[in-house]
Amino acid sequence: MESIDWSLINWSRGQFALTAIYHWLFVPLTLGITFIIAIMETIYVKTQDSKWKEITRFWMTLFAINFVIGAATGIIMEFEFGTNWSNYSWFVGDIFGAPLAIEGIMAFFMESTFIVIMIFGWNKVNQKFHLLSTWLVAIGSNLSALWILVANGWMQNPAGMKFNPETMRNEMISFWEVLFNPVAVNKFIHTIMSSYIVAAVFVAGISAWYLLKNRDIIMAKRSIIVASIFGLAASFATILTGDESARAVAKYQPMKLAAMEGLYQGSQNAPLVAIGLFGKPDPEFLNKEEFAMKIEIPNALSYLAFLNPNAFVPGVADLVHGNEKHNIPSYQERIDKGKISIDALAAFKKAKKEGNEAEVQKQLKLFEDNFEHFGYGYYFGKDPHMLVPNVKLSFYSFHIMVILGGFFILLFSLLVYFMYKNKLPKMKWLLWTAVWTIPLAWLASEAGWLVAEVGRQPWVIQDLMPNLAAVSRLDASVVQTTFFLFMAIFTVLLIAEIRIMLSKIKEGSQH
């Protein structure tokens, strides 16, 4: 174990996490606000009310400020698979590269071509073509989300592929299984819907500020109506897909579910921890729960995970130590089988070179019989607890996301209700709440990704490739240097973006 360069692995993980977190500060707003803008422009084209054009152009200005920094941070993500995870790039590049290429061809060009018309083309093309361009930017940005989430979904639940021992990599055998991977489909819808919530909170919050300042009143009222209805609809879709996602996690990533719920000891009729606080670390790790306080909903976790209140939900301890009664192998067993698989692959290659066909067939069978445990083999001789993700971070992220999701529904409902009653401008407390909810929307969105990514550690590809086998061989100091360079430049650009955005908001729609 001493021979592993954990410093390199952790800095590489840190760099990817850093760039992903920064990138995700900008993407959800782009995904959602483009549709809000498209809806507003559609109303303008239908009604020919110039106020709607003014409103559309105002939000478009804020969108443009956000969009460019999303592009700046996004380019890093694609290339980091190669720069920092070079083994990964070969091991699954045959499957993973395709969605990235399709994203470029199908989505990025659509986005980057029509955004020029959207921003600069008001006087160069007719109204309908401009409107079409705005919709195509919205569709293009969401299509790019589709393909990258197909790629991410595949990492969480590798489907539609087979390992080819000749080329020493996984190869695609069904494009449709990759595309319609249940994890990917859920992940895509859940992610874009939750991003629509972020955009809706952003538009509603800024509009609320205008109402509080008693300026840009018409724009503020109209924007709140569009954003709140849009946000409310997106919230319900987020709940539905979140529910589906939980079942997919229970099925394909049980350790992630256990971490999300802080479930150390599995049980039937497992309760759902609605609110919980961890206490001091348990010295007898995994043998008893760590909560200092918690409020539970009986049977809810079993139902959420398996649609059956009596179902058994495995906890961290069941997965690490195994549970014979429920037919769950221990991690040590899986590590041993993974090692057999890795060794068989090495023996297969050796026999192949020697021309020993009988041995080739024998080793191939051994390899294939144990392949589902392949990735565990890299932990041979190591503590199986290393395969447990950060439970507290997963748990808190998950619960922050869910609690805030519920809060957003309440906020949108109140905004719609009081707007309908024409009382909203007087509801100062609600307007201030809407303003201060803006950062919470980002918090919820980032928390969602923390659940998805921290909860699956150490797997880069679930059960097949841990991060220690995926990393590029660089000096840790090299990655440290680029980590801090990225941190510095993204922070500076983020400050610039926020300052420009605040300036434009202060100017309002008349400028």
Partner: protein, 392 residues
């Protein structure tokens, strides 16, 4: 349709697609070339605004083409992605940093409260304008001069976690050594192509400006810039190209797949692939004719010929790097680690599936051209920008 192609046929098809994307990317680097001219051909803020706004409506296309070029390379030749990006780490990181600062600079340059000030964002544009073409050009030159890496796919089954890496860069400089590798004077070759692409990007920018800008003062400066940059382009490109024809190249034995050095390999490739030779000749003539038009005739349409010529030439150069049993990413550390379109490619299934996706490319090109024409239907001027509510 694509199912009937052999694996080699698909690999060749995808090398052509990657080559085309690379060629289009080099053409679109005119945006970068233009960025290096914002203080040269524009002498006041009003003129600079014209230049920046003209380029600002195109930068995303270059950016997107780079991203798609990367994605297509990943999907079709993942071993290159793994080897080059993970190995020549500093070169690719420098390119990425150059594009990060570019992406925000147009939008943020003149915005109030932009934190860094207008000048800083303009410097970002200049930095991107210099680094991107020079580094991309030098990186592509290593397709012909080689790099110091080794590849062993079987490392993935080693038990020592520190030896798991299948592609290892064998110098601590991670790609930077390309500009000081003395062996075979590789550094001269790499630097030359970097500078050739840099001056090409400026030539293209100047010609694009000549075609699109309605401003006499700028136009008079453009003519001078075209002469200077055209001469430098020809010097560096011809040096690089003529020397390339006499270099020992990285050939692949068609039977054994063994990589070996072959004298005048790239010259031989041109002779053995006359279609590619014609493509390159047409490209070079196109560039020269485009330059001639704008330098010696009153025409401002040289960009069409220089642009098309650039795409054809670069396309042809990529083809001689990868076709005709040639290693497109050779290793000077271990010849047998060199990457070829056969050993670095995705599987037949993936290449077939992606080939169907590639049928979208003509549609994408069509709408790009349509939108480009709409936006560039009239020349840009200071007056137009004063009337426009969203400017950079």
């Amino acid at each position: 349709m694509f199912e009937n192609l052999s694996l080699l046929g698909l690999q060749q098809y995808w090398w052509a697609i990657v080559s085309l994307l690379g060629a289009l990317l080099v053409f679109l680097l005119f945006v970068q070339g233009g960025q290096t001219l914002i203080y040269t051909v524009a002498k006041n803020e009003s003129e600079r605004k014209v230049i920046v706004n003209l380029l600002g409506r195109k930068w995303e296309l270059t950016f997107t083409t780079l991203v798609t070029f990367g994605g297509a390379f990943f999907a079709s030749f993942p071993l290159f992605y793994s080897t080059s990006f993970g190995g020549a780490y500093w070169v690719w990181m420098a390119i990425l940093f150059a594009f990060i600062v570019q992406a925000v600079s147009y939008e943020y340059r003149t915005k109030a409260n932009n934190f860094l000030g207008q000048k800083t964002f303009e410097i970002f544009l200049v930095v991107n304008g210099i680094l991107a073409p020079v580094l991309l050009g030098a990186a592509v030159s290593t397709f012909f001069t080689g790099s110091m890496f080794s590849v062993n796919l079987e490392n993935i089954v080693l038990t020592n976690p520190n030896s798991l890496t299948i592609s290892s860069w064998e110098t601590p400089f991670h790609g930077l050594e390309a500009v000081w590798t003395i062996k075979n004077l590789a550094f001269l070759q790499n630097i030359s192509l970097g500078l050739a692409v840099f001056f090409l990007s400026r030539v293209l920018a100047v010609q694009y400006f000549q075609h699109q800008i309605d401003n006499e003062a700028i136009q008079s400066r453009l003519k001078k810039q075209l002469s200077i940059n055209a001469i430098l382009l020809l010097v560096f490109f011809l040096f690089w190209f003529i020397r390339l024809l006499f270099l020992d190249g990285f050939a692949v034995n068609a039977e054994t797949k063994e990589v070996f050095m072959e004298a005048n390999k790239y010259f031989n490739n041109l002779i053995q692939m006359p279609v590619v030779l014609i493509i390159i000749l047409l490209g070079v003539v196109g560039v020269l004719w485009g330059l001639f038009l704008n330098l010696f005739k009153k025409s401002m349409n040289g960009i069409f010929f220089t642009g098309a010529g650039t795409v054809l030439t670069v396309f042809g150069l990529f083809l001689i790097a990868g076709y005709n049993n040639t290693s497109f990413y050779p290793s000077t550390f271990d010849l047998q680690s060199s990457l070829t379109i056969e050993n670095a490619s995705s599987s037949k299934y993936t290449l077939t599936a992606m080939s169907y996706v590639s049928l979208l490319v003509p549609f994408v090109l069509a709408y790009i051209v349509y939108v480009w024409n709409k936006m560039d239907a009239s020349k840009i001027s200071e007056t137009e920008l004063m009337q426009d509510s969203h400017t950079y």
